[in-house]
């Protein structure tokens, strides 16, 4: 319980810091939302009048305080460029990005765990070597490039899907999931390679431990040794790694959305940054931070649950 309270306090502090930094960032970088709305032709007086109207001339602390107050009560403000509430603007984008992140994560777990265990079983055999070499390649290629390769291969050569032909989840759920398959795979492949390599070396390390010898002396076969004894111990450090990776998966999804033309949060974020649409950017950044922080807290909890040596 104490652990949970501590985690939540830390989470709130981290969110405050993230939101302050996001606010400050727009103070520092050049560009003015009022100017963006009115265009370069507008007179200085007109821009100034609009800035006043938008409340941009008030001190930063006042604006920040007001933003926090509204955000907590569920009001994320109104988008400058679309003139609709931010909530409405991002509400139908969230499921897209969340689905893609979850799918990527599933790919990472479903690819890395069985292959990692297989490589440990066949350590230094042909299979293990092939996967290690493949791993090396996958780890060094950035997701957007894998995304481009997949698009060319499955879109233009095999015609499995139409590049850029995004299907909305409101129209056709199966089509939507199908369209997200390749982008998710593009995000997942390098991460799965890393996770697998880590799991492999972590489990090999465990295989040299004394308790493995004890398990063998009891008549445990090689597979049982791996799954019942070594896996849990070897997987523990990987859990922390997976938690950290969530942030990376989300960051990569922003790029991948561009490559595959998916209208998710990432695309909204990038277009809002260039339009200096502060309320949208603030909201998206804080939402992403919430997701990352919460998943990391969950990972910590899970770790503690699995490894009893860590006191809660």
């Amino acid at each position: 319980m104490k652990f949970i309270i501590k985690k939540i306090t830390g989470l709130i502090i981290a969110l405050l810091i993230v939101s302050i930094l996001a606010f400050l960032a727009f103070e520092i970088i050049p560009g003015d939302p009022a100017r963006t709305i009115l265009g370069t032709e507008a007179t200085e007086a007109k821009v100034e009048a609009l800035r006043d109207e938008m409340g941009l001339n008030r001190p930063l602390t006042v604006r920040y305080g007001e933003w926090v107050k509204n955000f907590v009560s569920g009001d994320m403000g109104t988008s400058y460029s679309y003139q609709i509430p931010v909530k409405e603007l991002i509400a139908d984008k969230i499921p897209i990005t969340v689905t893609m992140t979850v799918m990527s994560f599933l790919f990472i777990v479903l690819l890395s765990i069985p292959l990692g265990v297989l490589c440990v079983y066949y350590e230094n055999h042909m299979l293990d070597r092939i996967f290690l070499a493949l791993n090396q390649v996958l780890m060094s290629v950035p997701p957007f490039f894998i995304g481009m390769l997949l698009t060319v291969l499955f879109g233009l050569v095999f015609h499995f899907f139409t590049p850029g032909g995004y299907i909305s989840y409101t129209e056709n759920l199966a089509g939507f999931l199908g369209y997200l398959l390749l982008p998710s795979l593009a995000i997942a492949l390098p991460k799965a390679a890393m996770t697998m390599k880590m799991l492999r070396s972590s489990m090999l390390d465990q295989l040299g431990q004394d308790y493995v010898r004890t398990a063998k002396s009891r008549g445990n076969g090689p597979w049982r040794v791996l799954f019942v004894h070594v896996f849990k111990n070897g997987f523990l450090p990987v859990i922390t790694f997976l938690g950290v990776m969530i942030a990376d998966v989300i960051a990569n999804s922003i790029v991948i959305e561009q490559v595959f033309g998916i209208p998710g949060l990432g695309r909204t974020l990038i277009s809002s940054i260039s339009k200096r649409d502060y309320p949208v950017v603030e909201a998206v950044i804080v939402l992403i931070a919430i997701v990352i922080l919460v998943t990391n807290a969950v990972v910590d909890l899970l770790y503690r649950k699995l490894d009893k040596r860590i006191e809660i």
């Binding site: 308790y211 004890t214 063998k216 002396s217 009891r218 008549g219 445990n220 111990n233 009893k308």
Partner: protein, 278 residues
Amino acid sequence: MLKVENLSIWFDDRGSMEQAVKGISFSMEKGEILGIVGESGSGKTMTALAIAGILKKNAVLESGRIEIEEKELLSMTGQQMRKLQGKEISMIFQEPMTALNPTMQIGRQVEEALLLHEKMTRKERKEKALEALKDVELENVETVYKKYPHELSGGMRQRAMIAAAVICRPKLLIADEPTTALDVYTQEEILKLLKKLNRKYGMGILFISHNLRVVKELCSRVLVMKDGEILEEGTAEGLFARPKTRYTKELVEAIPPRQTNSAYYGLFKEKAGGVHGE
């Protein structure tokens, strides 16, 4: 019951092959406690691991036979060997902290041999495991069953190790320096326990140690090993009274006098017994 003939083991030490065990032969009667003494690198642990069938991959069995109850172990397939491991041959190790799985409850580890070798329900296994924990003189066995290794003391861990090893009533228990990592008081307790189990179940014990005093206390017969060979073999009493080789004589002379030990033991007990006011 156990017959080892002309056993030779080499091991690959980063490319160079070294002979760890040089064609040794010995045998053990049913229910006997046989000690093997020798310094590190004498080949005693290699011999034990070979009998238990858990030699590391870098060890190569060159020749020899190991028979247990007329069954030859070295020609067995892995699967045939696994049927004996934990059921007829068990092993306990020096460091009970690392020899137990850190993320598995004690009870699960104790009953694992039953899961592998006997057809039992989960409940039956648990009952047997609790019984086994009582058998090794642990208290509050229901609580211990649910504990993890790090939550127990060194002595309790070694007891749990023993419970796990003897739960299927093996004919042979190989004990590789099981008391070395423990304090003198706990050492005595574990030795007593091993003696009790030996008598109660007629279980043969192959006791490996570098500590002659401990071996003298527990074993009826002793082998002295050095550089992969058996130098001397005899009853514990005989060996200590009339060592035949110079090496054994040196070993015997190196034992601290009994008095010193009991004095230390007494002192320790007093402390452990609780000097209350500081």
